[in-house]
Symmetry: C2
């Protein structure tokens, strides 16, 4: 029952032109700069356009103008709500100027990320947005030479390829360490992903440094794999209690894990924070609603997307960019779990 797809030969600029008795040039003007066309002509052409249901071929237009009005974005995972928020904000901001998003999902794999960047570059996007900083020398060189704005997001770098919008994961980890110390916890753990997640790694590094500053040298680390789901967080709690039954506080690399860990504690009757304090990262939408509610770090997911979009638009419009590195900060949110 599959229908035969003989090309329905869509109409072109020239078809419209012929039927309207004008040149292709004029039709093009009607579409792009109607002001330059006599009103009578304009109407005649427009009516043919409507009748034929003519849709300009942007591929051809892109080739001629060497601008695609597409922005390529590469993210570790589409199915992660935090990045999805950023992408939605980015998409909304870009849409106000007719730019569209080409999204590539690297699935947290660096090699795949490299391939993706190449594939994307071939499509000649007007700008490129990366999540995190690309670590491959080759790709960085490629991007630098691409001649389009490049925004690295989510993680601040001292040496961005071009632009950078985000916050310091390291500083956030550091702050959490200080908070945990002040609250009197001394046998501290970290549960989170490390391999292939540089942002999470940075948090742990900052956390470690913060603790060391208070004379606490050891962190009980439990590394979890993909995906960082609540189930995995719950399993992390079990492993923690088995391997380090003395732990009195745990910092989860993300709220997604932390919520799972928190709910596991509730189920198992482990008092939070009395027996075990929990701190998350990311302030997910249910983190304020659980009982106990989750102490965590709120991250400007939406703003990263919208500011990135604005920077891209500014660049593309030839406007001056005051700061190449935009630190949006984060907020520590003290709730009940720690």
């Amino acid at each position: 029952m599959s229908k035969t797809l003989l090309p329905p030969k869509r109409s072109r600029l020239e078809d419209v032109a012929r039927q309207a008795g004008v040149s292709a040039q004029t039709v093009s003007r009607v579409l792009r700069k109607p002001g330059l066309v006599a009103e009578a002509t304009r109407q005649r052409v427009q009516s043919v356009i409507d009748r034929l249901g003519y849709l300009p071929d942007l591929v051809a237009s892109n080739l001629a103008t060497s601008s695609t009005r597409m922005v390529a974005a590469i993210i570790p995972s589409l199915a992660s709500s935090v990045f999805a928020d950023t992408m939605q904000a980015l998409s909304a901001t870009l849409a106000t100027n007719g730019y569209q998003l080409l999204i590539g999902d690297s699935n947290y794999s660096p090699e795949h990320e490299d391939e993706l960047v190449q594939a994307m570059l071939g499509r000649r996007p007007d700008a490129i947005v990366l999540t995190g900083t690309s670590r491959s020398k080759k790709v960085r060189a490629l991007l630098a030479r691409a001649g389009v704005p490049v925004v690295e997001t989510w993680n601040l770098t001292a040496n961005p390829i071009d632009l950078c919008v985000g916050f310091s994961n390291h500083a956030a980890g550091f702050d959490i360490a200080r908070y945990i110390f002040r609250r009197g916890y001394r046998r501290v753990a970290f549960i989170g992903r490390l391999r292939n997640d540089p942002r999470s790694e940075d948090r742990l590094r900052g956390f470690r440094e913060g603790l060391r500053g208070h004379g606490m040298s050891s962190v009980r680390v439990i590394e979890v794999g993909d995906p960082a789901s609540p189930e995995v967080g719950a399993a992390g709690i079990d492993e923690l209690l088995r391997r380090y039954p003395d732990a009195d506080a745990v910092f989860f690399g993300s709220d997604r894990l932390a919520i799972g860990g928190l709910l596991a504690c509730v189920r198992r009757g482990i008092a939070v924070p009395e027996r075990l304090a929990i701190v998350g990262f990311g302030d997910f939408e249910i983190s304020s609603l659980t009982m106990p509610s989750l102490t965590t770090i709120a991250v400007p997911t939406w703003e990263i997307g919208s500011i990135t979009g604005e920077l891209v638009l500014a660049r593309l419009a030839g406007r001056e960019i005051p700061e190449r590195i935009v630190d949006l900060g984060y907020r520590f949110i003290q709730r009940e779990s720690a």
Copy 2:
């Protein structure tokens, strides 16, 4: 400090050709059908390609071949985890054959969806994936004439434009009504979004019909607006208890709302399911972890994406499609909340 972007004049096929002492055609062949080129020539050309860091311009290639290897997808919201899962599966499936995803976010607005479809069509995608069924006559006609595969997902229709992959929201609502009736609940409510969310509407319609079949004619309906967050679900519970204090069971249009409602009950000391039973929709990842855990409907989010991807690939490869409508069904998951 904005750097000057004088076009770094990327190298073209012809540049490579000249430097390798061959014609542009030969370079093109090296890239696309290396088998047709003498090995010595191939190596010489390849080394020039590497040295120049030549990347083929896909825009030009697309124009020449009239195929973009892009699939356009239009979804109500990027920031919704369910659609994000579907998109990730779709993206992964398409990526195996070098297709890329152009994602547009309609923000749950039908008018915006229409515009998006038009904008997308101009980019000449090789296929189009819609979430839900487009209701605008004009757009349906446009899509039907576009000459590319169109897959409507998430909601089954009797009359798809082309292909359709999903499940019946109506049937799911119907089943939930029966379950609720059998468990002995008689003063039933619905909390969810309706305007601009045809899928949720369908669930309520099925729910209503199911109840009517058991002689229960009235449903206490509380409509919520954007976004359907857990906070909104919690507020919904408060409104429900105020307006319909007699309600003994509530069906939430989505787990995102239901989780919020459930946690609100826990906080307020309302016994679930004894005082108020709760049924959700969508089986989110934490729905099995709350206490009580959430009774809900599991929806094949991932499969919708992967099957859609396979159908698209089949169509584009000219393979026969056995069924134009693919019903992936859903699973009722009984847990503790109802």
